[in-house]
Point group: C5
Chain length 102, copies 5
């Protein structure tokens, strides 16, 4: 899984019939760029994940990718490859708190 | 899923029998390269996706990859690993509109 | 899927029993490195794909990767993750022809 | 599989129902950056893996990714794409020991 | 599939029960870094693959990744994502021999 920040959303009216009602979020992977890091940093790639947990812009989320994403979707036959499976409360490295939801 | 721009098409007469009638599009991933970005930017990689939604050159599309792509294909046994699942209308980041179809 | 150029071949006498008779091609991904590109460019990575279409050195081919590759193999239980599914005739970007088989 | 170092943990109260009780570790891939390397080096990416072996911070672990990760999870229907499958004792390159657990 | 060089091995006493008896090799992907290359070059990444063919250090091997790796494993339910499926004899590019096992 990866940590990612919710940055926005995508609307597509013309889509695969199985996707009706699916909410598409634009997420950006978060990275810990050194062992001494004090906060999560925004990565370089851009991903679209579906969500049914109600994640909102600015949230830090856990995203599962690949075939396992389908097991997290509401419909197991959805053609999705990235789904939000958790809204993150905290990310800790030893005794340092790198992220804490407000 | 990823956002991508349709750039062209591929013709292959000699192909796997299950691919007869499949439309192959050349797509280029689109990225949001900074939190302050005002538009989508073309990424560096090149991908070929199959399409049954009628996407045309210049369209911004949602592409699903991996085994989930097969669930979006017309024939579930097609040996495809990237399929267009939506033609994008808008991409929003907070109150900024990064993309809006013409 | 990706576009790739067939560059060579691999021989492995000692191999998994399910691979007997499988032809292994060394292929190099082809990329379109700018919107104004006039030809396909050789990418940096090196991949080995199995082939039953008779692709030869110098050919531009379509390669499917991941679990979908098995659906393109002659034996669906072959442990392969990259298979040639088409020998490309043309790649077009708008009105420009980027590749045309000789 | 990849070698990775356990660096921390993630807590997410609001999560997919199948994930209840799952322990999420922040792991960083370890690389051998030259044939003459004398130790494992920390890589650049950040991954979250689930764990049921009791790996702790600082441990070197083996992580399996993709659909195979589900086979290593306690519940085969867990929507996970990275799971710890071993706590590493030693990594040897020829006669050199690159890593040895304390 | 990828070409890779066997560089070492990994020992993990505490591991997933399905992995008992599995041999884990440290392998490094091999690349052909230009069309005029005269030999295979060591790539940058580090991978751990399971092996039942008896590959040894220094061997050039074919590695399959992802779900297809399971089909090459002795136990189809092994949680593995990279398996050695062949020990390479030769890699040829046209009339040039890039690799020949001793």
């Amino acid at each position: 899984m990866i940590l990612a920040k919710v940055e926005g959303s995508v609307v597509a009216t013309k889509k695969n019939a199985k996707m009706t009602g699916t909410k598409f979020l634009v997420v950006r992977p978060l990275v810990i760029d050194s062992p001494a890091a004090k906060e999560l940093r925004l990565g370089q790639s851009t991903l679209v994940a579906s969500d049914s947990l109600g994640a909102g812009e600015g949230d830090c989320v856990l995203v599962v990718q690949g075939s396992s994403a389908r097991l997290a979707a509401e419909d197991k036959n959805s053609p999705v490859d990235a789904v939000v499976i958790g809204i993150v409360d905290t990310v800790d490295l030893g005794k340092r708190i790198l992220y804490k939801a407000e």
